[in-house]
């Protein structure tokens, strides 16, 4: 039974991968990342010092934002499109559990984001070679792998919203939460002394629970922040737990819902 479900999950993942690979957003996203690389390279060339830091800051920020937006967009789109086109109805008329369907779609999304990551890594390596920085180190590779984890978290969040709402609503909510996740830690750290205690507690709790800064190792890779294995493990566990949480929500919602195609 389990093997059977895995086979179906893999079939759905392959189908989703093909659909996303052919999505109209793919080419503009890759072109966008190319432009970001070019811009990072130019900015690095124009600067007088910290060439590598500037290259990393701009390049990493650009790739991170592009990837996250793609993850959010695709995460909401794969479910909304399935509902809109009605392919969800056709899929679930087959002997597939709804949980398998969600996980299959998520696996497809992960695979496609991995392809995007590979594209970014190739671009980045080209950029590094162009600037005589040599091959990427393990630390730099980790930077991109954690960035990928951040994308997956945002993709799963988008999917969780898309199971309960239409694409526009899901996209809006996910983008809002993404911005919150990016800003929560900074806001928590910069609260003034006059801030009421209750507000402080609320902000700090939010910042601990929802902090997308955990997936950015940029300070450790180009800065001076220490990077140890325990810290990496905690960040990884945090990411995996968030993904599991969002997927559980998505599965619970879709199991309870009546599935009626929009058309």
């Amino acid at each position: 039974m389990f093997i059977n479900d895995l086979e179906k999950l893999w079939t759905l993942a392959r189908e989703t991968l093909i659909l996303l690979r052919r999505d109209k957003v793919m080419v503009p996203a890759l072109l966008g990342s190319l432009l970001i690389s070019a811009f990072a390279n130019l900015a690095s060339d124009w600067s007088v010092e910290d060439f590598q830091k500037i290259l990393f800051d701009i390049g990493y920020f650009g790739f991170s934002v592009t990837g996250t937006l793609m993850a959010i967009f695709w995460g909401t789109k794969i479910l909304s499109d399935s509902r809109q086109e009605g392919s969800m109805e056709v899929h679930l008329a087959a002997p597939i559990h709804r949980t398998t369907w969600i996980l299959g779609k998520f696996t497809g999304l992960k695979l496609c984001l991995f392809l995007v990551l590979c594209g970014f890594l190739v671009l980045w390596q080209g950029l590094m070679l162009l600037n005589d920085f040599g091959w990427m180190t393990a630390k730099q590779l980790l930077l991109f792998l954690f960035m990928y984890l951040g994308w997956i978290v945002c993709g799963a969040l988008g999917m969780a919203f898309a199971t309960a709402a239409g694409q526009t609503t899901a996209l809006f909510c996910t983008l809002c939460l993404w911005v919150c996740g990016l800003a929560s830690a900074s806001i928590s750290q910069t609260l003034s002394a006059e801030t009421p205690e209750t507000t402080k507690i609320v902000v700090q709790v939010i910042a601990r629970l929802w902090n997308l800064g955990q997936f950015s190792l940029i300070d450790s890779v180009v800065g001076t922040a220490p990077l140890n294995i325990n810290d990496l493990g905690l960040r990884l566990a945090y990411g995996v737990l968030l993904v599991l949480l969002f997927l559980t929500v998505a599965c619970l919602v879709i199991r309870k819902r009546d599935l009626v195609a929009a058309s």
Binding site: T11, L12, R14, E85, V90, L92, A93, A94
Partner: protein, 374 residues
Amino acid sequence: MNQPQKTREFRQGIPTPHPSPMTATPPLPAISLEKVTKVYRNDLFKKPMIAVNQLSMIFPAHACTALLGHNGAGKTTTIRMLLGLISPDEGRILFEGDRLQTEHKQFIGYMPEVNKLPLSLTCEEVLRFALLLHKNPHQTRQPWPTNSVDQLIHSKLEELGLVTQRHKKISQLSKGLARRMAFAQATIHQPRLLILDEPTSGLDPAAAHLLETLIQKEKIRGTTILLCTHELSHLVNLCDEVNILKKGQLILTSLANHGDSSLQEGGPRPVALSPRTAMAVSKTTPKDLETLKALQNLPPWDHIQVTANLRPPGDQQQVDLEFVDEAAGQRWLKSLVENGFMVTHFRRSIGFRPDEIYLYFEKDLSRSPQDVHQ
């Protein structure tokens, strides 16, 4: 859970003769609904909408059963419940005697009303994924062997005349071709039960005819077909049985003789599909028509249960008479000949056609189900 394949052998493409309405043994239902109710409560500010109300229905195996009704009658909700896409609030759905489970959907094929295939996949990819999402019916616990998948896809594309479209994306297909693809996708895994929702909607006559032929082929193979349609020609050409829904309730079924008697309690009006005699009388004169009117008072007029096609004589040049009771027909024929009528033809047919039943009960669709039951 009972494995459905244990209760019945898979067909393996062997045509199973469809039992005629005259067969004494009731056919085993492929799928049935027992007092199923579905209420939509989507809008907080609106009254809950009862889409299906205490609906009991059976779909006999190897038969093509039509599900009819006006828009909003509950047909699509019923289909979605049969597919497990929405769950009933009350009642249960049985597939070959067992409560419907996800695993049973292995044996169900579904062709939705509008094309719901992913537009950016090619025809081959659509069929490949559709096949891989189902188990291999011949070796229920084994996956499909790669060569068998390729063969099945090729033969399906060939059967439906889509070989040249193999590598085309769904978005590049015409509406007719896309409908054929949807049919291919619904039937590639050789289902036992095929649910077709408005299969020819929006197609030109040639494409509609082709699709009708394909459905006919599936029927000959022994597939149980549930056809949701507004096309009366489908009822004539394809359907053996007919169920008519109104406001989520069954107001008419031709399955009265096949079903569980409990289904009939306070239920729809049963229509007996018994033999009938039909006559066409031509060259009538006004005097003849008066005689004919007088003849209508002859016994056994009260034997006629359904007079769907009986047109009282008027100014027509031709009068058609139809009888449920064959003996009554014979007596009528005798009376007509004795009274000097010219009988152009006299034929015996096996029962009322589904389209006749639908048209006859069409007027009931504008009345409430309670009125119809009285």
